[in-house]
Amino acid sequence: MSAVPAPAADAPKSAHTAADYKSDYKPIWCPGCGDYSVLSSFTKAFAILDLAPERIAVVSGIGCSSRIPAYTSCYGFHGVHGRSLAAATGLKLARPDLTVVVASGDGDGYSIGGNHFLHACRRNADLTYVVMDNHVYGMTKGQPSPTTEPDWDSKLSPGGTGLRSFNPLVIALAAGANFVARAFAGDPNGTAEIIAEAIRTPGFSFVEVMSPCVTFRPEQREWKHHVRPSPVPATDDAAKAARRLMTDDGFNIGVLYKGDRPPYQPPMGKGRKTPADLERGFAI
């Protein structure tokens, strides 16, 4: 309902700068962690869209990546491990006027919270879901997640899990997400553009950001040498997008699929309260 319209060509410059969306809390990520850049991409995307901080809610689960909300000056909600999408769905349906951005990690979003991912794609509420994928549980000090390579050695999986990693982008397509993109933390401006477009697109938008964990996956520093802009533009054909994703090497960056499913809106009962009615209850 409230997807942010694209600016007209002659629109005035944004009244906001990225700094307007930063809180005074100093992030406590490890030096070099990709999540710093993702935070910067969030704030840049909000400035591109020229949204007032109080029109935005950033909702997360638990993990290093999920620390993001407190580092922004928007409404923030640091939830429970795996439940970021459930919390965000509740918020969005109660407050359709807010732009709701969900931040998560590969553990939070694909392991313990994996089922919500499927249903959020299927439901197609107007949310933007940004997963900082580092192929590891960073916060608990280095265990494999569903996107970890099968032979990655860790204390809890010596010699590797032997399980093939799954492809969240293909899963999102199969489950019905309306917008699917891959971004790279090492390119904060490009990632900001992608996140802004994800927010602008109505329905459930999924942005998988490759965000290196320099502490437990130091080899991910090499990602910057492998990523490249996707050689083809976004398609509106989900099957074509899925085929591309299943055959690429995982390093094509950009918007990969953009559909036109109408976003989910719960049926309006009679006497339904507007956000203004709800707000009146909290006035003091």
Partner: protein
Amino acid sequence: MSRRLLTGNGAAAWGARLAEVDYVPAFPITPQTEIVETLARWCDAGEMAARLTMLESEHSMVTAAGAAAAAGARVFTATSSQGLQYAMEMIFTVAGWRVPFVMVNVSRALASPITLEPDHTDVLSARDAGFLQIHCATCQEVMDGVLIAYRVAEDARVRLPAIVNEDGFYLSFTREPVELPDPGAVRRFLPAFDPGSAAFRASHPASRAVAVLGGAPYSYFRYEAHLAARAALAVYDEAATAFAAAFGRSWPAVERYRSDDAEVVFFMIGAFATKAKDAVDRLREAGERVGLVRPRLLRPWPDAALREALAGKRAVAVIDQNLSMGMGGVLAAELASALHGHAGMPMIVPFVGALGGRDIAAEEFFEIARAARAAAAAGVAPGPRLLYTADELREVRKLQAIAHAERPGAGGTR
């Protein structure tokens, strides 16, 4: 027998290793992760003949543990805090499956607010589930507790899963000397799991975990599990006696420390009881007749042993490191249920403290003893009192002021 410096987590892992478990479903969570990572290393190195599998959450981890135990495997797992909560549906369910396995819980406080620091609200929320609960105060008790837990849980009179609890950080990451028994002696104390009729046996297909219709069969099975948990009181005593005979360490269901002639006793579970003992010694030096009573076994609740330990005391100061909102501390209420209606029982003076990693200072134990004595003298039982200092309140007020300044116009009236 050998002696090593081990953390509580290391001791828990050794317990599982010495119990020669077959299967370890695992999922990481601070401050537990070290336990399953240690077991993974041993399995990989061939020092343990077990299979360890990482699941995608604690919910599936406890489900897998219950199913494997139903198939006759000896199963070990471990979790903490939010993980225990997330698994709670299955904690109740697998207890009803009557499958004995052991899960170490590394106590950590619950959200919200989000914290990593310890208290006992997590494990006490599982007290109605049908799991036995053994609460440890030292690293040695953690290791020995795991072995005793298997023996009690697997006993044909019991057949229930068990939680062995250690305090996060204070015990999980503190090194203490731990005696490791010989594997042969452990095997004699804890023979291989005999799943009896519960195993999936060749040529004997049977459906498990079926639904019942109506309250009569439901009540029957629930009450039967309750009776099995009650039977575990005697089975625990037997196991503790056998353990003492085999290894020379005695872990009765209720620990008494200088309490025989005490007028006032501290009553608490877990690692902070060692601080209480220190306070007892110092109060004794000052001429006060103070002691400590600590239930090791929380489920089944050793009510008779508690009455025996507390009869004739003037006051029992219960220190609850948990909070049941709208009621107070869980232990105080549980103890009241054991003492009520029996003659010669002390007044219960309840305190709530050490929530979310807060310490209890020696002076606070002195004040607790003083307040308990005063309440007994006045003959009026007070309500629960939070251990909290004026300095702490000032600190929190400062944080609130900062938060309010950063978000002008945020809700609230202050």
